[in-house]
């Protein structure tokens, strides 16, 4: 009786088995790797907003300080969104009929809040506090990226616990002189005080910043 499988079937069977194993491995790899990609973490995704507000125009172009709108960034956990009233200080004078700004005008006229979508959304069990970071020399750019170059706001960093811990383990290189904290275009120059000098200036280092209790409650 002739053999059921020709010799070539050996090769086919091996290939099939190998590709199956490969598929399983690839699947595991995908399962492990995909959540760690910037895609899955929505890094650099822009988000549809009720009004296409441009930080590039307002910050980069007009040079408005971060704190003009995000008023509580130095005193509270939340940086704060400006009330519609703040927008209308200018927009009652310029672009008064722009269709893009209709939701803003309606908000003030009808006393309804504008509901923005969050670009960076930390989990609820993380108690991030803007005030302490700003007070200790962490620039806005360190987490929020070059907003002055963003026509539409997007998430600039992964905002994972690893991202936070990188800095909490070794804050020195990320610190800025006080005058540069809100400067979106700042770069370290030869005149900049050394990281060690900035650590001393801000008195960072006394507390163990990697304690769980620093961020979680």
């Amino acid at each position: 009786m002739a053999a059921i499988f020709p010799p070539a079937a050996n090769l086919a069977a091996k290939l099939v088995l190998l590709s199956l194993a490969g598929l399983v491995l690839a699947g595991i790899g995908w399962w492990w790797l995909f959540p760690r990609t910037d895609y899955a973490r929505h890094v650099d995704w822009t988000v549809d907003q009720p009004v296409p507000f441009s930080h590039q125009h307002h910050v980069g172009g007009l040079g408005i300080d971060c704190r003009f709108c995000h008023t509580t960034v130095e005193v509270a956990g939340n940086a704060g969104l400006p009330p519609t009233y703040t927008c209308m200080t200018c927009h009652s004078q310029i672009w008064t009929n722009a269709a893009l700004l209709a939701p803003v005008r309606r908000s003030l006229a009808e006393n309804v809040p504008i509901r923005w979508r969050r670009v960076t959304d930390l989990p609820d069990y993380v108690y991030f506090n803007h005030a302490i970071h700003v007070a200790k020399g962490v620039g806005c750019e360190s987490c929020h990226g070059q907003v002055a170059d963003m026509p539409l706001m997007r998430k600039a960093r992964s905002m994972t616990m690893g991202f936070c811990l990188d800095c909490h383990r070794d804050p020195a290189p990320r610190l800025r002189p006080p005058e540069a904290i809100f400067d979106t275009q700042w770069h370290r120059t030869p005149d900049t005080p050394s990281p060690a000098a900035l650590m001393a200036h801000y008195r960072v280092g006394g507390r163990n910043l990697t304690d769980c209790s620093i961020c979680h409650r």
Partner: protein
């Protein structure tokens, strides 16, 4: 099993083997589950389901609500920082000044108002729980007539018709029934109504009347004056079934004063306290001598003591301690104070007044003042008159404000059928609102303008803390509609009252009063009435019958008005540790005589009424006394309180009492045996008496901590520590509720408590020592001890619980996989496991939670964090200001609420009170032999015993 020197309950003392096995197990339900026959397929099925469900939950990326941008900047401070706004909590008609802590623009936590005389910065359990009441979804009731919803215009129209009718008969058929009222604005509005309708009558009713106190003052002084004790001045205090530390108006202040003289390391002269009482009261729990006396004995002992104090008489049948007590009182002339509780007869109060005058305490250990009520009346008489008129058909219009007589007064519901127009205003469903023609939703005190007076008359203007959550109106508006067609808003009504007093300076004084939470110089004046000679001759009637039935308000749900508050329902009562129930409390001797054990039913008959209640045996209760607790068995109430316990108001009627064992058994949830601690010495609460302490201050054994090979000192810049003064704890439970409010601690319900799954981060353990009939009772607040060498940390397989550099034992919820090893290994039994998604299952809106604290999910362990969120907030402020966190900058929730300053907490690296208290010779670490190096230490109990009184 823990040793028997100090024991938690009669079951433990009896050493029933089945009980011992259950009580010793950390997870009693586990053994039961292991014993249940589950086949292999069943296990596999459950595992597969678990895996599949776990996978599904991983798919949810979390919905996004977005972030709101307000049109105009909110006026109420900065979003993201917290603010404190003053108002008052009204209890039994009296104001207790509070501050509400706001977060994200809404009130989330009640704190005491340091400036307010009835608070001094502290709060009681009920005030703490009021924030849950504010967010209670059951408050969402509609304006209705009969069963039909109505519009507000319908109400205005209906009231216009009643106004017309009242104008015809000059108000003869118009009756107003309220609770006790101190509010100047309500008083003014009622006075205006009376002016408009001269024959209208105003009745007041509280089921817990204090009528005997008033009648006693009338007997002694001819006027309803009130006594304001100064317990910080009194060296010798005798309390006959006293309520000064528990529920008397002003009790927070009295407790603060009282505690200031109870720790011999902090006071030059410790006070001596005798409590003569039928069942343990807060005062009795900390008294130097707790003497058991039923109502009949009390009615005999008060005149005997009066005889000894006033006339140096010695009664032949006097108890052995009476002479020593009288001698002690007389030896402390001008520094002695005698107190009688509200359940003693008026004659006993008169005698106590006479004794206090004779002991020279007036002006020193107490003051006599005018009453703080707008119109002090005998409440029982006031209601009886109303019900008689209703039965006689003399009432055509009845307006019930904030009172629930259909539940609290037998016969009222029947009388109500004879009233043509009846209206109830209430915050939530009540039995009365269900029976009257109209039911009008009332605004909660935290969302309305009003005013009220404290026990000493000090007025507070209540300001709204938020927009009204539900469609309701103010009582001030309702009263204005009885007067005229135009409704008056509550703010206008309150301002009108104070405008009359302040005139030109209204705006500034209004602002100052709101900011401070009280109106300056409004205390009632000290009275200069003279004692009548007859007071010393009063003879209290001795109740007849073998058994005395006492009907007492529940310390937490009170007369039933807070029955829908889950925090208060699930709050273990100070001595019985019962939750969600109101069994009949029996003495050990009484239970033996009836042949009942805990949970077995007893039929109580009084006159025509009878109620069947399960029994609960209370060590240290008077043998001839049984106690039934009011406030339970409500039918028409929100979802939480419906049909919890049994209604004993039918027994208020009077008549001879008889008890009979009935068939059946009820499972009662008491936490007394939960979380057992095993202590080699058998002495959890170390105690001694003052003489021994003075002979050797280290009599309690101040052993230095043992050495350890692995000892590590947390290196951080701050060192958090706590000291708990056991001399001061009166078991009021304010700390427990404060902890729940601050830390989003869920309630679990009676069924889960029966499985030992209550979630309180802070509990108050109660220990007995001695014979069950008359034991010494000790209290011990128990919370995470934040051990430096924590046994929980070394057994966690995932490092979900570990130490931080500042000495906190922290719990990382996200790492926790729920092995419960930590809880098993915790010698103090302070860890709590979320067997079910308790927080998600709560009858509570997300809005009501503290946004600064994680809401824990199913399957994770949790425990006291020393209010980490408060530490974090202080840490951030201090770091911004480049300074260390101050020694006493962080105040934990329990510490802030405590009326007697049991807790001291702080950054030990900076010194402060906690360091001082830890140096006290009384200070000891619980279970020191386990070498856990706890950051929490206790100060042992010293009792100032009189050697002439037999133990």
């Amino acid at each position: 099993m823990p040793s028997l020197k100090q024991w938690r309950g009669l079951d433990a003392l009896a050493r029933d083997p089945a009980f011992v096995a259950r009580a010793e197990a950390e997870f009693p339900m586990l053994a039961k589950a292991m014993a249940a026959p589950t086949d292999r397929r069943g296990v596999l099925r459950l595992m597969a389901a678990g895996l599949a469900l776990a996978g599904l939950t991983g798919c949810d990326a979390g919905a996004q609500d977005g972030i709101l941008m307000p049109p105009v900047r909110p006026a109420s401070g900065t979003v993201g920082t917290s603010g404190l706004f003053a108002t008052a909590h009204m209890a039994q008609g009296y104001a207790e000044g509070v501050l509400l802590r706001h977060a994200a623009g809404r009130p989330i936590k009640v704190e005491g108002n340091t400036l307010h005389p009835a608070s001094l910065g502290a709060t009681d359990a009920i005030a703490q729980a009021e924030i849950l009441g504010f967010y209670d979804p059951d408050r969402d009731i509609t304006l209705r007539r009969g069963r039909t919803a109505q519009s507000w215009q319908d109400l205005v129209t209906a009231l216009a018709a009643q106004r017309a009718r009242a104008e015809q008969d000059r108000g003869a058929g118009l009756r107003l029934l309220t609770g006790r009222i101190t509010s100047p604005t309500l008083a003014r509005q009622i006075a205006e109504l009376r002016a408009a309708y001269p024959e209208m009558r105003w009745h007041q009713w509280e089921p817990v009347t204090r009528d005997a106190v008033r009648a006693g003052a009338l007997l002694a002084y001819g006027q309803p004056v009130q006594v304001q004790p100064r317990l910080d001045v009194a060296d010798v205090i005798v309390a006959f079934d006293g309520d000064l530390l528990g529920s008397a108006p002003g009790h927070l202040r009295f407790a603060r004063d009282f505690a200031s003289r109870r720790n011999p390391t902090r006071t030059d002269r410790m006070s001596r306290v005798y409590a003569v009482e039928p069942a343990p009261t807060p005062m009795g729990l900390v008294a130097d001598h707790r003497l058991i006396a039923g109502p009949r004995d009390l009615a005999r002992f008060v005149p005997m003591l009066a005889g000894a104090v006033l006339r140096d008489e010695t009664a032949s049948d006097a108890p052995p301690w009476l002479a020593a007590m009288a001698a002690d009182l007389k030896g402390a002339r001008g520094r002695a104070f005698v107190h009688a509780g509200p359940e003693l007869p008026a004659e006993a109060h008169a005698l106590v007044h006479a004794m206090n005058e004779a002991l020279g305490g007036r002006g020193a250990t107490y003051r006599l003042t005018d009453p703080a009520e707008a119109e002090p009346v005998a409440l029982a008489d006031s209601l009886a008159a109303l019900m008689a008129d209703m039965q006689a058909g003399r009432v055509h219009t009845l307006i019930v404000l904030d009172s629930n007589p259909a539940y609290t007064a037998p016969g009222f519901a029947d009388a109500l059928t004879r009233v043509a127009f009846s209206l109830t205003m209430a915050m939530a469903p009540t039995e009365t609102a269900g029976l009257t023609h109209w039911s009008v939703p009332q605004r909660h005190g935290f969302e309305d303008w009003s005013d009220g007076r404290a026990f000493d008359g000090t007025a507070t203007i209540l300001q709204p803390q938020a927009q009204p959550l539900y469609d309701a109106i103010s009582p001030h508006t309702l009263l204005s509609l009885l007067r005229g067609p135009a409704p008056v808003g509550s703010r206008d009504a309150v301002r009108a009252t104070w405008a009359a007093a302040w005139g030109e300076s209204l705006d500034t004084r209004w602002h100052d009063s709101l900011a401070a939470g009280l109106v300056d110089d409004t205390a009632v004046p000290v009275s200069d009435v003279r004692l009548r000679d007859a007071a010393a001759q009063a003879i209290p009637p001795v109740p007849d019958g073998d058994t005395a039935l006492l009907l007492r308000p529940d310390p937490h749900v009170w007369d039933g008005r807070w029955a829908n508050n889950a925090w208060l329902q699930e709050l273990p009562r100070a001595t019985t540790k019962l939750v969600w129930d109101n069994p009949l409390l029996l003495s050990p001797a009484g239970a033996r005589a009836l042949g009942v054990r805990n949970g077995e039913r007893v039929e109580v008959r009084r006159g025509d009424a009878h109620v069947v209640l399960p029994a609960w045996v209370v060590p240290g209760q008077a043998p001839d006394t049984v106690i039934a607790t009011l406030g339970y068995g409500r039918r028409d109430v929100g979802e939480v309180g419906r049909d919890v316990g049994w209604n004993v108001y039918p027994l208020t009627g009077g008549g001879p009492v008889s008890l009979r064992k009935a068939e059946g058994h009820d499972a009662l949830a008491s936490t007394e045996h939960h979380d057992p601690i095993f202590c080699d010495a058998g002495e959890y609460v170390r105690h001694t008496d003052l003489a021994a302490f003075e002979a050797d201050p280290h009599v309690l054994g101040h052993e230095p901590p043992l050495d350890s090979l692995y000892r590590t000192h947390p290196p951080g810049p701050a060192a958090w520590g706590m000291s708990v003064d056991l001399n001061a704890c009166i078991g009021c439970n304010a700390c427990v509720v404060a902890c729940m409010a601050e830390n989003n601690v869920p309630v679990v319900g009676k069924a889960q408590v029966l499985h030992q799954r209550e979630m309180h981060w802070l509990r108050i353990d109660r220990y007995y020592e001695g014979a069950p009939d008359d034991p010494d009772i000790f209290l011990q607040p128990m919370l995470c001890q934040h051990c430096e060498q924590a046994p929980c940390e070394v057994v966690c397989p995932v490092e979900a619980t570990l130490h931080d550099s500042e000495g906190l034992n922290v719990m990382v919820y996200n790492r926790c996989i729920g092995t419960r090893f930590c809880s098993n290994n915790c010698p103090y039994k302070v860890r709590r496991f979320n067997y079910f998604p308790y927080a998600q299952d709560e009858h509570r809106t997300a809005l009501a939670r503290n946004p600064e604290v994680t809401v824990r999910a199913r399957g994770v362990m949790e425990k006291c964090t020393f209010c980490l969120q408060r530490i974090a907030a202080a840490r951030i402020v201090a770091d911004i200001e480049n300074r260390p966190v101050g020694a006493e900058e962080v105040v934990t929730a329990c510490q802030a609420a405590c009326p007697t300053r049991v807790f001291s907490f702080g950054n030990m690296a900076e010194g402060g009170a906690v360091v001082e208290h830890k140096k006290s010779p009384l200070s000891y670490a619980l279970l020191a032999e386990q070498n856990t190096h706890p950051r929490l230490t206790y100060e042992g109990v010293v009792r100032n015993r009189n050697k002439d009184v037999g133990a």
